[in-house]
Symmetry: C2
Subunit: 767 residues, 2 copies
């Protein structure tokens, strides 16, 4: 692949755009199988309760009910609904907890599944749930992680005394933090509280399970990790993986929330019991009640600095509110701490995490995976430190951030490329950083500007086995079917993969047809998350396409009576480099390969199993301007500039879409979104979009995006990740802008009008 | 692959057996898509009529009708519903006629499609058909091919004066037939009439077409040649092949009758017009009316023989009744004539075919593809010749049949292996040939015994491009997903392919999971017909499995610290050949390859694009015993022995099933089945299973099967074809047995009681 690109770098429309816009795209909720039953789950109304007795006899007798199940009917095995069924890399191997049964006899949060039914239709299923009689023994509940760790707190899991699920220390801690603080001229120490944002996917949670007569299980799932879902089900149900097929059609939004095993296990049990396909489709309220949310952290950050801006020490202590089950709580906290320390050079570092069970809804991965929370704390502390020594925060960051050659978030692996300086410069210039700071007014609508930076890995290597397989075949029309693993959940990485294939094969984007979403067909891939699809799968696509191209050129060479290395291919045409008028269309060569009787027929194809062995974090500088109403505390984000070190923007249009979406979700996280429960009853207050508000397009400013393209040596065509990045910088940048506007540091998310108003009042009283 | 097999040659149950027996298998008729409309076709009630005017306005206004189409709405392009959209090999290239529009303004048979509707449900669609007003100009019709060729006969297609669709001569004619007849001591000359058997598949004809919003067309089809269906639709609708996906789920019987383009084109037009998925599902009557049947031939065979049994000349003249459109009429006739001459050594040969249009239902491929008809004639003539010179018919055949090294049906390519002598010997011995002949009685129930032999190619090479592609991947449980092209239409070749993969990979049959039925996923394959799947695809599977095995052994070698060539694999275990206790399970190696973080991760896989370059006809001797009721003319087949030269029986159970099914279909063809029309009106008399009788299990004798296994050098593990064979020998063997019982040669199919009674009467009168 040369440096002059025909397809890569172009703002090309996504092939799935029209399919979705016209309503032709099919999601799990759209799928109907013959004889399919409706599954419904009976959920605990209490946050903490033992089930003394459960009587399902009346429900079972109801006409049209095909199965009623309780804990007695599910495999006597615990599981973890996250990625725990994939082994971690040895140096990072943590105790992975499988702390959950498919149905429970001890409810640990409001919504915990107690029983389930399969019935001919939804109304019968709902009536059957009403006929199940449960005798609950209510237990005292605890929702706050600090309270949960206190002596005498309700004990949620027998295996976790004091409700401490796990304690972890920062793996790559270095130097001596005490000495570092001793050497510092100033110390900044603050505590930050982040909230339980919901993923708010438009498609409600749903799954279907169906057994064929030979015992093969097919699951229609919204999983972002279909191969892990397959493995998890295999372990849970003691089935060989090969007897399980996980199909992931279009997914109506995921953002990390569609983990490996959530709805699927109950579906499978019901399908086993009834011998019929069973679909569970959540109502919006149930979706809010049950699908894991973002992990709330209490982060105490302490930084030592010298007058010249040198960071001498960095320390973080985290208390994570895991909720009722582990899911991915430890991985997220660990990712938080590793990325926390990955951004700035500092000789003395230390970090500690307590992950605590409470009677809250569990936490799953969420776009950013702990990094937005880490940066919400760190990047405010950086602003405070810069302010303390009277340095421009942009300059402070430029002075201290890590660069190429420095250790990455995996301390053993160096950063391959870093264009954060250019990001800071370009972003600052576009937003007009110089001269806009400090213009806040005490009264009325006060203007503020703020920034934050971040680094974020482009893959999970080397934490998990991050390899990915690709298969590609050429059709007789010169088009290619590209079989790849990423699921299409709105993110648009498939268009980038198609562009990489098109570029290498010298064909048009519209001639690359993606095949995905079926574990019987796709090669192994750990999943669609961690901003990794373009980076890792793109590399695999490039290599598979190269193999097919080799066959294409070899056949064309025979026809043109030249050697293959005299040939090039572009615009759907193979031609002789020195006499470009001499050539053949790709379609001619591919068609001839398939259909020509004379000669050796061949369906040109290529395959590749690839694992990245580099760490190529992307970097970003995010800038925002806000207007704070000092009377009401309301914040309006008036401008967002994101400068992102993307290595190479394979499809700038789609990459911008990712930035824009993440900005929106970042603004929601910053200002609006939290999962609120009634602390008395444990019941969910925010269980639909009238009580849980996400920003609408009218709430959002235009996002100005700058891509800094300095090709990374390990990325396909130099590309690095982009998907999560803006959600990492935006909350901290907004907090810093609010501080610029009104002089208060907002240390708790979301930064609601009430909290800002209270902070202003407190400041008034203090001054 | 060694000569000692662990999986090959075993009578293992088909993986799809349980799926079908439990009703879990899904067929096109089972598939329901959201928003799917019902398509129905208005068909001509006249065998030959011009449409003066068609008024669809009332139909269009009916509530719930989404589209009404006529010839004005279909592409102004002709097509051919057979394999004509694949180029023939140059030496055999014939004029391929595309003589059919999707809907017509001139009906050429009762059932010809004139208009179609798509509506919200079946009742509305049927009502809409009733509301279409057609002004027909009835034209004189002709059903008999000889009448059709006469001066003044109705002209069916403007392009075919005298209704002669095509005239062909035998391509490999040799010597001088006149001279041959001159040298002969005796000449036998007879004319034979074969009938229009119906495929009688249990699943009625059905198809679904659906466009997504991006213009991609997905077709659910019963096609035996999904890749050809894709190509045909691409040509017809001017779409790139890559924008069309043909999905073939389980098919409820095909037998050649599910050609490339039958129901699909109308579905596609209706889906285009409505923007919604459209399904057409035939009623049983419509299925009989429209799906092409077997091609009836009038064959005049002339053989010159010497007293010593030498055949001096062989000549055949064929008149084929193509019906209203070409479909595969020429290919079938050409296959008839090539196989006719492929069986016996003879220096002087000549053959001529006239393929004639009539106002009958068109003809499609049907199990045997002209060879049963050829043998019905030839093998009776052989018996007559043997009788004339007083030679045992078995001995006559043994003396004259071609053997390894002789030219095959493709004269340029030699026969690779031939065990026909052993077939004749083994079959004759089992049935007790010696001493059972000539025991017929003039009155009451008369016993007879007869035999016939045949050769049949195991592939269509070199007529069409017969290559096939296979992709295979290993799962972490040591199982494999094997992506192959053959559709599962009941024949069971998939189990043989799975056994070949299992054998080569050293795993169990149940650990090979077949993936098929989706052109987006499978590599090119011309189709599932001509007894070719095990032979051709089996070779591709073998090579793809070998590639994967190479990766498997290489990784195991690294773990076991030996070199790969010191290793073997069987029973799911890789072991060191000289110290077999040292080893690893395939699952361990495969799982480690996928999941192990340390080392190079890999989803072990293999792919292969294979074309056979040999012709490996299978041979067969079929023996039957019959009891003829001389009072009623009724024939009971009391015993069938089939000795088949299969090369290697990959799965004897499933191969026997193929023989048994073909015997049943052969008995039906011989005694019961014909598509009867009213010669006055052209209307179908036999349009369901009460008027068109097929043999039930109660009508069938047990079939005794002998496989002669002499591995063919070109077949996978030595295997040759089997699927069609018994339908080729049975009709001629029954005719010869009837002659043995009652002394009359039955020269017309089916050999009904009426015809036998009449022949007996004629014989009585003559003697």
């Amino acid at each position: 692949m040369g440096e002059e690109f025909a397809v890569i770098g172009k703002r090309l429309a996504r092939p799935d755009g029209a399919v979705k816009a016209t309503g032709a795209a099919r999601y799990v909720v759209d799928i109907k199988l013959p004889g399919m039953l409706v599954g419904k789950v009976l959920r605990s109304p209490y946050p903490h309760a033992r089930i003394r007795r459960i009587d399902i006899s009346r429900a079972r007798k109801l006409a049209g009910v095909e199965a009623v199940i309780t804990i007695d009917d599910v495999p006597p095995k615990t599981f973890n609904s996250g990625l725990a069924h994939i082994r971690l890399a040895p140096p990072l191997a943590k105790k992975v907890l499988r702390d959950q049964y498919i149905l429970t006899d001890k409810a640990r949060y409001v919504g915990d599944g107690i029983a389930a039914v399969a019935a001919r239709n939804k109304l019968i299923a709902e009536e059957a749930l009403r006929l199940i009689e449960v005798d609950f023994e209510e237990l005292p509940a605890v929702f706050d992680p600090i309270e949960a760790m206190q002596l005498g707190a309700p004990q949620i899991h027998d295996s976790a005394p004091g409700n401490i699920l796990q304690h972890m220390s920062y793996l790559f801690a270095a130097g001596d933090v005490a000495q570092g603080f001793h050497e510092a001229d100033y110390i900044v120490e603050e505590t930050f509280y982040t909230s339980k944002q919901r993923h708010s996917q438009l498609e409600v949670g749903a799954a279907i399970a169906s057994f064929d007569g030979a015992g093969k299980l097919t699951v229609w799932s919204q999983s972002q990790s279909p191969h892990v879902t397959r493995r998890g089900l295999a372990e849970l149900f003691d089935m060989p993986e090969g007897m399980i097929e996980v199909i992931t059609p279009y997914i109506g939004g995921a953002f990390g929330g569609k983990s490996a095993l959530i709805i699927e296990p109950i579906c499978v049990v019901l399908a086993q019991k009834t011998g019929e396909p069973v679909k569970i489709e959540y109502s919006r309220e149930e979706d809010f009640l049950v699908l894991p949310g973002r992990e709330p952290f209490i982060q105490t950050v302490k930084m030592g600095i010298k007058k010249d801006g040198t960071i001498t020490t960095l320390q973080t202590k985290i208390i994570a509110n895991a909720g009722a089950y582990m899911v991915s709580a430890s991985s997220i906290a660990s990712f938080n701490i590793n990325n926390f320390f990955a951004l700035y050079r500092c000789p003395n570092t230390a970090g500690e995490i307590d992950i605590v069970y409470t009677n809250m809804l569990p936490c799953g991965p969420f776009r950013g995976f702990g990094n937005p929370e880490a940066m919400f704390a760190l990047e405010q502390v950086v602003d405070m430190a810069a302010e303390r020594i009277g340095m421009d925060p942009a300059g402070f960051r430029r002075r201290n951030h890590r660069r190429a050659g420095d250790p990455s978030w995996m301390a053993s692996l160096p950063i391959a490329s870093c264009a954060l300086d250019e990001c800071i410069e370009a972003g600052a210039q576009l937003i007009g950083w110089e001269g806009k700071r400090g213009l806040g007014t005490a009264k009325g609508k006060s203007h503020g500007i703020g920034m934050a930076v971040m680094s974020h890995p482009s893959d999970i290597y080397p934490v998990y086995t991050g390899h990915t397989g690709v298969f590609l075949k050429l059709n007789a029309d010169g088009s290619a079917n590209l079989t790849v693993s990423p699921v299409e959940m709105g993110q648009g990485s498939l268009v980038a993969l198609a562009q990489i294939a098109a570029e290498e094969l010298g064909i048009r984007l519209e001639d690359v047809h993606i095949v995905t979403g079926d574990t019987d067909v796709t090669l192994f891939d750990i999943g669609t998350f961690c901003s990794r699809s373009t980076y890792v799968c793109g590399n695999a696509v490039l290599r598979a396409a190269r193999e097919a191209k080799g066959q294409l050129l070899a056949r064309a060479a025979r026809k043109l009576q030249v050697s293959a290395d005299e040939l090039a291919v572009s615009n759907g045409r193979v031609y002789v480099k020195r006499t470009p008028e001499q050539g053949l269309s790709v379609a001619e060569v591919a068609k001839d390969a398939i259909y020509n009787y004379e000669g050796e027929p061949l369906n040109i194809s290529g395959s590749c199993s690839f694992e990245s062995t580099a760490v190529s974090p992307s970097f970003q500088a995010g800038f925002v301007e806000v207007e704070v109403d000092t009377e009401t505390g309301e914040v309006k984000v008036s401008r967002v500039v994101i400068a992102h070190d993307i290595g190479r923007a394979i499809n700038p249009l789609s990459a911008e879409g990712q930035i824009e979406g993440a900005v929106a979700q970042g603004i929601g996280f910053s200002l609006l979104e939290d999962y609120v429960i009634n602390r008395g009853t444990g019941e969910t207050v925010t269980d639909n979009f009238t009580t849980y508000k996400i920003p609408s397009t009218l709430d959002l400013p235009d996002t100005e995006v700058i891509f800094i393209e300095r090709p990374d040596p390990a990325g396909p065509a130099g590309a690095k990740g982009v998907g999560e990045s803006a959600l990492v910088t935006v909350p901290a940048a907004i907090a810093n802008a609010i501080h610029d506007a009104i002089g208060v540091h907002m240390k708790e998310l979301p930064m609601t009008p009430e909290r800002i108003w209270e902070a202003l009042k407190a400041k008034e009283i203090a001054t």
